[in-house]
């Protein structure tokens, strides 16, 4: 068995071992240790194997490694193979998935220590890793799609992990259903690609679209259909509504699935199929604008949220929007770069939030926090570093990736525009502001803790703080590894519009200033008891209500989509079709048979003599008829 296959199969083995075996060992002291060793050990092993694969890739001069596991089906002359493919882009993704994934597994051993479904949790987490690795390792779009659906399933299972709470179960359902809408677009895109190009092999699709003559299909149409799939998985307008609700799951799940890895699958897919988007200017423009609008809208909502995880969730939506801006202006490598830095600092932020929640015995409302700086110092310092990274302060990782995105949004010759840039820059300012607001409200100022919770404040165990420290270091220095440069042989960067070539240095300076402005603004607004913030809130009460109501998008969808659907289901499908038509037909037929049999049954008198007589009469009648007619 090859390295790549093994990388994917190790987490699957963990899922099977923990899911089938360890759930029976619950309660046994050995059981928990078994779960921990299997659940964390196999992902770490997969990470080590991924490093080995990268070494092999380097040794082979970056010729992609290929492994065909088996042929799924052959249609015509085109075989559908479950085949794995490992090139520069896959290497980055696999290392993020297994690396950050392993760290979060280790963190979970502390965070979920007292949960009664410990084994179930780890088996789901391993299942997620397996599907995510299928997604990033797959050579063909079909394998990617299997992983794509699989991570959706794992996400559903983990959001609704505490399914006794109906609200959490509903959040899981929402994520699943909203994703299905996107998947419909994705599937249509795949069908169209297969009809036009005759293969689902992603490298061959890219080559076909970059060659002349291009395939006889509109690249814009394919691009938009695939992007609809990406809007579902990667939480973009109009399908972003599931991600904030997905915070109902355990916090490490939010960090792994809903921040670092799964939600970036859409970005990965667009970067992997860059050939299509590079030849579809219309689709790219749509992506850039959708991305920047999502980033902006989510950032405005994040400004006023009071739940620590909700702020981070909207921030994730916003950062994903930034990645799509990069995709939209043709800077695919830069999108992956931001994906990579975002994986570190957002995982660190979420795990830090988890540590805060853990310390406060489950409190998530930032209005009831404050002054935690001295009480949980490791959490504070790691959280602060990650906050500075996402705000884009140099020399932390977020600075490099966000600066590149802003630069290409302005100057790329594949759709860079001042409008996109301006909105992105404004969003960057808001990002810095709401993140420092979060930092301020949680860690600085006077304590607003519930006295009951205040008595129990404690720093998290080493399994959690250690992971936080590693992620904080990675968020700090991760930017020095230039991913766009590493990926450039594969994902070329767009050209620069000559008239804007001189703007690079001003943009760098501006992006630093924006980060500092956000920091200063948050410090000024929330210093002391936050009277200034309260004053602004009172002044713009209407705006505040709209923002804290999340623009009432959920309510709008409910009114425009859910209610009409429910009405149609209730009245047309249930009452008219199901009850009147189908049940009515069946019941009518049954009643008819019953009534007929009631009449016919009377002929069965049970008197043999009558039967014989009737048979005699019949025979005579037949004979008589025969005599007269034959």
């Amino acid at each position: 068995m090859g390295t790549l296959t093994l990388i994917a199969l190790l987490p699957l083995a963990g899922f099977l071992l923990n899911g089938l075996l360890a759930t029976r060992l619950s309660g046994h002291p050995f059981g928990k240790r078994f779960v921990t060793v299997v659940g964390c050990g196999l992902p770490i092993l997969a990470f080590l194997l991924a490093i080995r694969a990268l070494v092999e890739l380097r040794a082979g001069g970056y010729v992609p490694l290929q492994e065909v596991v088996f042929t799924w089906a052959t249609i015509g002359r085109e075989p559908f193979e479950v085949a794995f493919h490992f090139d520069r882009l896959t290497a980055v993704m696999v290392l993020i998935v297994t690396g950050v994934g392993s760290l979060i597994h280790v963190y979970s051993t502390g965070y979920m220590r007292d949960d009664e479904s410990y084994a179930r949790y780890f088996s789901y987490l391993n299942l997620f890793l397996f599907f995510m690795l299928m997604l990033v390792l797959g050579r063909s779009l079909l394998v990617l799609f299997v992983g794509w659906e699989g991570v959706g399933l794992a996400s559903y299972l983990l959001i609704g992990f505490w399914f006794e709470d109906p609200e959490k179960a509903a959040a899981g359902k929402k994520a699943f259903i909203v994703n299905r809408i996107g998947d419909a677009g994705f599937l249509l895109g795949m069908f169209l690609l297969y009809t036009a190009v005759g293969t689902l092999d992603m490298d061959r699709i890219n080559a076909a679209f970059l060659a002349t003559p291009a395939p006889a299909v509109s690249a814009t149409l394919v691009g938009i259909l695939l992007f609809i799939g990406a809007t579902g998985k990667s939480a973009q307008i109009p399908l972003y509504v599931w991600l904030p609700d997905a915070m109902a799951g355990p916090t490490p799940v939010s960090a792994l699935i809903h921040a670092a890895t799964m939600v970036t699958a859409g970005v990965y897919m667009c970067a992997r199929l860059w050939g299509i988007f590079a030849s579809a200017a219309g689709a790219s423009e749509l992506i850039a604008w959708t991305g920047v609008l999502t980033a902006f809208v989510a950032a405005t909502i994040a400004l006023v949220q009071t739940d620590i995880k909700k702020v981070l969730a909207y921030s994730t939506v916003s950062q994903l929007g930034f990645m799509f801006v990069a995709i939209g202006v043709g800077a695919y490598g830069v999108a992956v770069f931001h994906l990579y830095t975002h994986a570190f600092f957002k995982a660190c932020l979420f795990l830090g939030a988890g540590s805060v929640i853990h310390a406060l015995s489950g409190e998530q409302d930032i209005r009831k926090m404050g002054g935690l700086r001295g009480k949980i110092p490791v959490t504070f310092w790691t959280f602060a570093i990650a906050t500075a990274a996402i705000a884009g302060l140099p020399p932390l990782s977020g600075f490099f990736s966000k600066d590149e995105i802003l630069w290409f949004a302005f100057a790329s010759d594949q759709g860079g525009s001042a409008g996109v840039f301006a909105l992105a820059a404004l969003t960057a300012l808001m990002t810095a502001f709401y993140m420092f607001r979060l930092l301020w409200l949680v860690f600085f100022g006077a304590s607003r803790l519930d006295p009951h919770a205040a008595a129990h404040v404690h720093e998290s165990p080493l399994s959690m703080t250690g992971v936080l420290a590693i992620l904080a270091v990675l968020s700090a220095i991760g930017g020095f590894l230039s991913i766009p440069h590493f990926l450039e042989p594969m994902l070329p960067l767009p050209g620069i519009q000559p008239s804007r070539a001189g703007a690079h240095v001003p943009i760098v300076v501006m992006s630093v200033l924006l980060g500092l402005a956000g920091l200063a603004g948050a410090a000024w607004f929330f210093a002391g008891k936050g009277e200034r913030a309260e004053a602004v809130k009172a002044r713009f009460a209407g705006l505040h209500r709209i923002l804290s109501g999340k623009y009432f998008v959920d309510e709008l969808y409910d009114l425009v989509i859910n209610r009409p659907l429910l009405w149609v289901s209730e009245n047309v499908f249930l009452k008219l079709s199901d009850r009147a038509l189908i049940d009515g037909t069946l019941n009518g037929l049954a009643a008819l048979a019953q009534r007929t049999s009631g009449v016919m049954g009377r002929l069965q008198t049970g008197h043999l003599h009558l039967y014989v007589l009737l048979a005699l009469v019949g025979t005579i009648a037949v004979l008589f008829w025969g005599w007269r007619h034959v």
């Binding site: 049999s597 016919m600 049954g601 009377r602 002929l603 069965q604 008198t605 049970g606 008197h607 043999l608 003599h609 014989v612 007589l613 005699l616």
Partner: protein, 100 residues
Amino acid sequence: MDKTQLLIALALTLFSLGLVGVIVRRNLLVMLMCMELMLNGVNLSLVTFAQEAGAAVGAVLVFLIFVVATAEIAIAIPIVLLLVRRRHTLDADAYADLKG
């Protein structure tokens, strides 16, 4: 009336007697006997016509029918016995369980 006509008339009489017996009698055993009468009436007509046509095949066939009739009655009588054991009556109308 020649011999053939006499024999055919006899066969018809036997058949009719049997048929009337099956229709009017309620005793299972008597009904079985009447059925045998009907069968033998038919048999007789078969032999008669065979004789008339000068074919020996008919006479041979009659023996075959005797064997079949014996086998049939050997099954029918035990069935009646079992029925009687269950209900203690020979009345055919007592066995009307499938009445609608």
